[in-house]
């Protein structure tokens, strides 16, 4: 089976700092890594290839230095990697990114499955995976914790808040994966040496025949008004006393806020 994995380079920190002037992420002095959820995606793809044969292609859209994460994917065992890189796609928001990645996937030819991480740890939107599926017009399963392929059917278990649900879709499809799905492998040394020497092919806007209105700044309707670290939530009020009394007091307080009404 042909699997395409979409990956992103992100700053190696869960404590992302934001420049209040420009409303953008501060990247200086922060090491860049393969987005952890995407690493799970690469691992999931490699495991499916080990079971069913086929090819794993890993793509990223980003600046030239993003090729480092493609080398990591190659070292892990990916068959092919592509860097989608062009001035014209700079400033893409999640909508434009989804469009651009979908065009790249279509350009690469026949595929059975697209895997994305649940979300990138820098922007945390979780929109690109589903967006790519929409653009490609294929079914999507988000938050997968287990994948099983049987013929043209994909069975995926989804991680929900307090439960999991198993869904079945026809291939080709797109899944986004959570970190509990697997433990990404450490790259074997032969992979490390191979990846170091590899030429990373670049796909530009012209090759992908991107519509300039749909990618880059022009294709990005998102307007960032402000990015900020939300203040820590204050400790909630605790109503002490006997349960019945406390419940009454609580009900009164809520009613007093005018957020619910009793008819």
């Amino acid at each position: 089976m042909n699997i395409v994995v979409c990956v992103k380079q992100v700053p190696d920190t869960t404590d992302v700092r934001i420049d209040p002037e420009t409303n953008s992420l501060i990247r200086e002095g922060v090491e860049s890594i393969l987005n952890p959820f995407d690493e799970n995606g690469v691992e999931a793809a490699l495991q499916l290839r080990e079971q069913h044969g086929g090819k794993v292609t890993v793509i990223t859209m980003g600046p030239p230095q993003a090729e480092a994460i493609l080398r990591h994917a190659l070292a892990m065992g990916a068959d092919e990697v592509y860097l989608v890189c062009d001035r014209a796609i700079r400033g893409s928001d999640t909508l434009a990114t989804s469009y651009t990645l979908a065009k790249a996937i279509e350009y690469l030819g026949e595929f059975d499955l697209v895997i994305c991480g649940k979300q990138a740890i820098d922007g945390d939107t979780a929109q690109v995976g589903p967006g790519v599926a929409e653009r490609l017009g294929i079914p999507q399963v988000s938050l997968a914790i287990a994948l099983e392929v049987e013929g043209r059917k994909l069975r995926a278990r989804r991680l929900l808040d307090d439960a999991s649900e198993t869904v079945e879709v026809r291939l080709p499809a797109l899944v986004t994966v959570v970190k509990q799905i697997n433990e990404p492998r450490h790259p074997p040394m032969k992979g490390v040496l191979k990846a170091k020497k590899a030429q990373i092919p670049v796909l530009d806007a012209e090759t992908l025949e991107l519509d300039p209105k749909l990618t880059g700044f022009a294709g990005s309707p998102t307007f960032v008004w402000k990015i900020f670290t939300p203040p820590r939530r204050a400790r909630g009020q605790i109503i002490e006393g006997e349960p019945e009394e406390a419940a009454k007091e609580l009900a009164q307080k809520i009613l007093g806020l005018n957020v619910i009404s009793i008819s």
Binding site: H186, P187, P188, M189, K190, V192, L193, K196
Partner: protein, 419 residues
């Protein structure tokens, strides 16, 4: 701590240097005519990439469970399997036999990391390489295809059996007999202390086809686990490395086909010496790994522990301990890398390997003892790993030729050189 001596650095040649300005020195070292030093203390790109990847693996997978690995008292099968998946079990084996085809500098760097991260896994790896190396050096193409490939891919583990109850330091006194019988040799005798015994599938065994002639009769054989007449005896209870098997190998009328002779008949002593030559670098760098683990435990502790209202690292006598520890570790590592370099260059390295082994093992004994000292009473408890490192370090002064034997080897070679 991580500065490396590497005299074999192809990448040292500046890529844009005009061709007339540089000269290639022996061993692929590049220098320009203006007298740039040919000694390069940097790694080439491949070596660095492998070192980085191995460090990451060690920190993620070996370090967190190193205590548990030692406490378990069972062979760390999972760790060793991982080394196979990472292509490390055949690090020096040519690619045509499924190996990684790297040099001995890289092997040395990797062995240090493994030993630092998990001494037990490092030692199991070391003993495996003692089986890989003689087959790599002396094996026929068939033997390499049959055995080296499986060892290199990590499909099976190797071991090396030389020591016997009556043949320790006196390795030439091997009494395990190998008698020709048709297309086979029949082995009878007992080996002792053999690392990886029972877990390994493939054994390089030093036997003797002509006991009367001593070392001149010694012959190396490849013996597979499961061969009838080949059994494992008791596992030694040791002061350290409790999860590492050191067992007897018992041969009773064990038939080994003639094609399993490694090298030639009567050349077993040479096979043993070549193997131990590399093994000594391995033991030296293994000792460096233990020393580093101890130092890396001691240094942060001295900054956190307060006495007399100050961190103990502010006391000059504690600082002197730290300085001595770090200096000796650095010197020991450089000796090991120098010996590995000579081996890569195909030059004699026996003396340097013996120097590296004796020095590094004594450094490990010193450094681990000082690490306990830095931690005071807490260092003497089992709540910290330094007491274990101290017990483990002692092994390196004994195994694969005691410190006394190394000194004899070094002195012998010095006196020969002088005459």
């Amino acid at each position: 701590m991580t500065r490396i001596l590497n005299l074999d650095n192809h990448d040292a040649r500046p890529p844009d240097a005009p061709p007339g300005e540089e000269v290639c020195l022996s061993g692929g070292c590049w220098a320009d005519r203006r007298g740039l030093s040919p000694i390069v203390f940097d790694l080439n790109e491949d070596q660095q990439a492998i070192l980085d990847a191995v460090r990451e693996f060690c920190d993620d997978e070996l370090v967190p469970k190193a205590e548990a690995t030692d406490a378990a008292g069972v062979w760390p099968a999972e760790n060793v399997a991982k080394l196979g998946e990472l292509d490390l079990m055949g690090i020096t084996v040519p690619e045509e036999y499924g190996g990684l085809g790297m040099d001995h500098i890289t092997w040395t760097l990797v062995a240090e990391e493994l030993s630092r991260a998990c001494t037990t896994t490092g030692a199991a790896f070391g003993a495996h390489i003692l089986c890989v190396e003689p087959i790599r050096l002396f094996g026929t193409d068939e033997q390499k295809k049959k055995y080296l490939t499986r060892l290199a891919k990590g499909e099976c583990v190797g071991a090396f059996g030389l020591t016997e109850p009556g043949a320790g330091s006196d390795a030439g006194a091997v009494q395990t007999r190998a008698e020709p019988d048709g297309d086979d040799y029949v082995l009878n005798g007992t080996k002792i202390f053999i690392t990886n015994a029972g877990e390994a599938e493939i054994y390089v065994i030093i036997a003797n086809i002509d006991i009367e002639r001593g070392p001149r009769g010694m012959t190396a054989f490849i013996v597979e686990k499961g061969t009838p007449g080949f059994e494992f005896g008791k596992n030694e209870k040791k002061m350290g490395f409790g999860s590492l098997p050191n067992r007897e190998l018992i041969f009773t009328d064990c038939r080994v086909p003639k094609e399993n002779i490694l090298g030639r008949e009567r050349r077993g002593f040479r096979v043993a010496l070549e193997t131990l030559g590399m093994g000594r670098i391995g033991m030296g760098i293994g000792a460096v790994g233990v020393a580093r683990a101890a130092f890396e435990a001691a240094l942060p502790y001295t900054k956190q522990r307060h006495q007399f209202g100050k961190p103990i690292s502010s006391f000059q006598l504690v600082q002197a301990m730290l300085a001595d520890m770090a200096t000796q570790i650095e010197a020991a590592r450089l000796l090991c890398l120098k010996a590995a370099y000579l081996k890569d260059m195909g030059r004699p390295f026996e003396k340097e390997a013996a120097m590296a082994k004796v020095y590094a093992s004594e450094v490990a004994a010193f450094v681990t003892s000082k690490a306990v000292q830095c931690l005071g009473g807490y260092g003497y408890t089992k709540d910290f790993p330094v007491e274990r490192y101290m017990r483990e370090a002692k092994l390196f002064e004994i195994v694969e030729g005691t410190s006394e034997i190394q000194r004899l080897v070094i002195a012998n070679l010095l006196l020969k050189e002088g005459s």
